[in-house]
Symmetry: C2
């Protein structure tokens, strides 16, 4: 960014930045940050065969793990049905999300990849992502069984979109280890399950029949009513289950000084 442009930005920032910095208050950006050439989103969506999406996701897993798998299931099918611009997407990048991003156990890669694919193809992605994430948090998964090798795998309910929690719940339910072959197979089927569910929701949205079959649980609604946007406290953001990381919030809350927070950790 050259000095002249920075001075111009400074002038705009001063003009618009009453009290806080300029970036959040204006829609302008320097020419250097202008969008680079690529077709605008959303790209054309064509109704998908959820079973084909699931199978493609499942068979993509060995090549790149969870995030790559769910993304490849959805975008690979769209590339075959729609062609350009899906065909030119460098899908390999989605390998970064493996194990909740490089093994960090944050967001489950099956969800991270599906959310990215949803954003490519939907003109209103947030309700699709909400339904997918709540479904994932509340259902017994994986629910995809590969026709080619239908060996049973233990199902579990994660109550969370996070990899760390999802794996721990599965290990607890199955009695198996986190780096076992069975856990790897479970995650391949989980990625296929999530990709299939995303395709079903996208199809419903395109057909005008999308309903939120998995709305936020009452617990989360209650917490959010004070702690989220426009609540009396409004001191965080999020839609995840609350009591997993904040157990022991008393029935008398609010009024007891607040629930357990990370401060106590």
């Amino acid at each position: 960014m050259n000095c002249k442009r920075r001075k111009a930005l400074a002038a705009m920032g001063t003009m618009l930045g009453a009290g806080v910095g300029g970036a959040v208050l204006g829609r302008f950006a320097p020419a250097a940050a202008a969008p680079l050439p690529s077709p605008p989103l959303p790209w054309p969506y064509s109704k998908l065969d959820p079973s084909a999406v699931a199978e493609r996701a499942y068979w993509s897993y060995p090549d790149g793990h969870c995030m790559f798998s769910s993304f490849a299931g959805l975008v690979g099918e769209l590339a075959e049905k729609v062609g350009h611009p899906y065909k030119s997407f460098p899908m390999e990048v989605m390998k970064y999300g493996a194990g909740g991003v490089a093994g960090w156990g944050t967001l489950c890669g099956a969800l991270n990849g599906a959310a990215a694919a949803i954003y490519l193809a939907s003109d209103d992605p947030d309700p699709v992502i909400d339904e997918l994430f709540w479904w994932y948090s509340n259902e017994k998964l994986p629910d995809f069984v590969p026709p080619e090798s239908p060996v049973p795998i233990t199902q579990s309910v994660s109550r969370s979109p996070l990899c760390h929690v999802s794996v721990a719940e599965w290990c607890s339910a199955s009695g198996l280890k986190a780096y076992s072959k069975q856990r790897n197979e479970r995650c391949a089927r989980l990625a296929a399950s999530a990709a299939r569910r995303a395709a079903q929701i996208l199809n419903a949205q395109q057909g005008g029949t999308l309903t939120l079959a998995h709305p936020a649980p009452d617990e989360v609604k209650r917490c959010r009513s004070c702690h989220e946007r426009a609540g009396s406290v409004e001191n965080t953001r999020g839609k995840m289950h609350c009591s997993q990381c904040h157990p022991g919030v008393e029935p008398s809350h609010p009024g007891d000084g607040g629930g357990r927070s990370s401060k106590e950790g």
Copy 2:
């Protein structure tokens, strides 16, 4: 996937799927799931100016929030320096990660976007991501101040790569609300901070001088020694701070039956 191909896969699955399904055991995949045309990763990396990356990220924030911002800072600069294939990446898709993906508060978008960009440009991305995520978890942030509008913003230490926690810690430190203009400005600066740090680490890696300035804390190492890969319990995955969601693990642990888990939530 046609019937013929499925039968062929079934045969391979039977052959390879001893005890568990076939996907995790073989490197094969059906032709339909073969990689689509795009340049293989990593793409060429050219040493970046961290300050230019930060400024580009900061000024990209109003167009797509945290994940888009950090990704655009890094990949926008690479597009300008290297050109193809960075120029053709549909950066707009990275908007999906806003607020920890559609407001869910999972992985901080500044990290999600930076991790994706790192994966495009590094031939050994995991150490770069590790250093970035630990830096983010342990430093007082944001540490980027836009030269155009250097209004002070409260800094905080998240101890977590998760949006929900990071925002809550900042609200606690600042006394300000989660949807305030100041929080929005804080996240714009945080995305710029993360993009700048990622550029510094990528530069160090390319120059052969990468060192892990922010290794895993001792607490995490202790927990992982039993609960992670090859540990006696091996019942989860992850690198995040443990005590934020598992407070109250007794000093006598192990031996007390285990720390608090989501089961108690």
